[in-house]
């Protein structure tokens, strides 16, 4: 029902992210039908990125960025609501939220996803691919 063209455009833009002058690279993640678009984001180790999450669904979602351990803790943990942290943000239905994240230098694969009940299993997840070369 919605803005497929826009989503594609956003996806194309955010796949590479965009560097703002004197600011962190911005990545836009659009949520539609409980999926992240794009589901693959590229970033450099050590880079601080600004992540804009646009929730077009009529249900709440969240974004959790981190390695598998972080994802497991949120998926299986029992932590209740807490204040926003870098790389972790709730996105109410039909709203937009922003979080920042510093890409670690480590080699562990980075993931992002939503851990509201059933959402991760439904496939609401993505990958951050590290760019090692300086050409990107």
């Amino acid at each position: 029902m919605r803005r497929a063209g826009l989503a594609v455009a956003v996806a194309a833009l955010s796949l590479a992210g965009c560097n703002t002058k004197d600011g962190p690279k911005e990545v836009v993640l659009t949520i539609e039908h409980s999926r992240f678009v794009p589901d693959v984001v590229h970033a450099r180790p050590g880079e601080r990125i600004r992540i804009v999450v646009r929730n077009t669904d009529p249900i709440d979602h969240e974004l959790i960025v981190g390695d598998q351990g972080v994802q497991d803790r949120h998926e299986k943990g029992t932590e209740s609501h807490h204040a926003a942290r870098d790389g972790e943000v709730s996105v109410a239905a039909g709203s937009e939220a922003v979080t920042f994240y510093v890409v670690p230098e480590g080699a562990a694969p980075l993931l992002f996803g939503c851990h509201l009940p059933g959402h991760w299993d439904y496939g609401m997840r993505g990958t951050i691919r590290l760019i090692r070369s300086s050409s990107f």
Binding site: M1, R2, E32, H33, S34, T56, D57, P58, I59, D60, E62, I64, H74, E75, G77, T78, E79, S80, H81, H82, E88, S90, A93, G94, C114, H115, L116, P117, G118, H119, D121, Y122, M124
Partner: protein
Amino acid sequence: MRRLSSLAAVITGAAALVGMMAAPAGACAGLVTPGGNVRLLRTATLAAYANGLEHYVTSFEFAGGGAEFGSIVPLPAIPSKVERAGDWTLQRLERETQPQPAFARADSAGASEAKGAEVIYETRIDALDITILKGGGDSVGEWAREHGFRLTPDAPAVLDFYAARSKIFMAARFNAQAASERQQAVGDGTPIHLTIPTKSPWVPLRILGLGLEREARIDADVYLLTAKRPSLLPTPGDSLKPGFDGQASTQLLDDLRSDKGMGWIPASMWLTYLHVDQSAGRLTHDLSIDPTGRGRVSGVAAGLRAPARPRPPVSVTTSSLSTTTLAPTTTPTTAAETATSLAVLPARSDSDSSSLAAPLAIAVAAIGLVATTLVVQRRRRDTPTPTS
């Protein structure tokens, strides 16, 4: 950031015809209780067609404990009447088509608006609050969320799936206080009868998998009563197993006709019984029905093909440089789609032309050449598993 308070599940997709009887069977729907427990819930619906009117008789089962639950049922068009149905029509159909225990056989002798979703009609039947909504998937989802329904992650896609075909939904939920005042017992069903003017008979099947894991099995029974042997899409096969296929018995029709609001049942009908046996992840379609048996089933009505989208206004520049904006139209359908959609027009046209006020006078008892009765019984083996 896990939310302990998030209880998962529940827009129960009691699809239009989710069967439920006091006995086995029944469509199960996720239910959220104040304590956070998700219980199985059985709901049932019977839909029938006569003279362009579709009759839904849906039963919602009270789960008790002060719990409230919500169900959302996609409808092909705006109902012209919403009323309490008879108490035993669904049970009689089940009894006719499913094996019964010996003792049972012996007995058988005997207005507001939220975020764009338009509230077409509201009523309370017994302790059940019924709301007929018109809107897109987003707006209906937002309305549901704002009214306490818990939407599972697949809900946005499923609501959009149905809204692309018909923007009419029925939301139903028990009012706990009203149920308490009525001393409604757990398991008590409240049958609802909706009269819906439509030319597009279809049975929502995909919604039966709402909130279920992909591997969860959908186990449902579909009963059709038509004047003639109906044409169906998809064609019955492995996942839609044909059962009974023949003339309905006079006794069955007489019994159905004698229940409240069922006087429209013709003297002769064809009974088709289908058993849905499919995983939730693969049940991505509905069932299109041509009650005339002429093969005029539609891939769109079956959910196998996306409806044509309206084209944006087209600007035409003439030689005099004036600009004309043409009215939106729809994209042309393929020859095959046109051929198969003649009798299954988009529900929108029906919806837009009907309202509750006038059609309320429509006689429900009209006897038509074509009448289809169907009941889907869904047995959910797996519960949507909230992980909070």
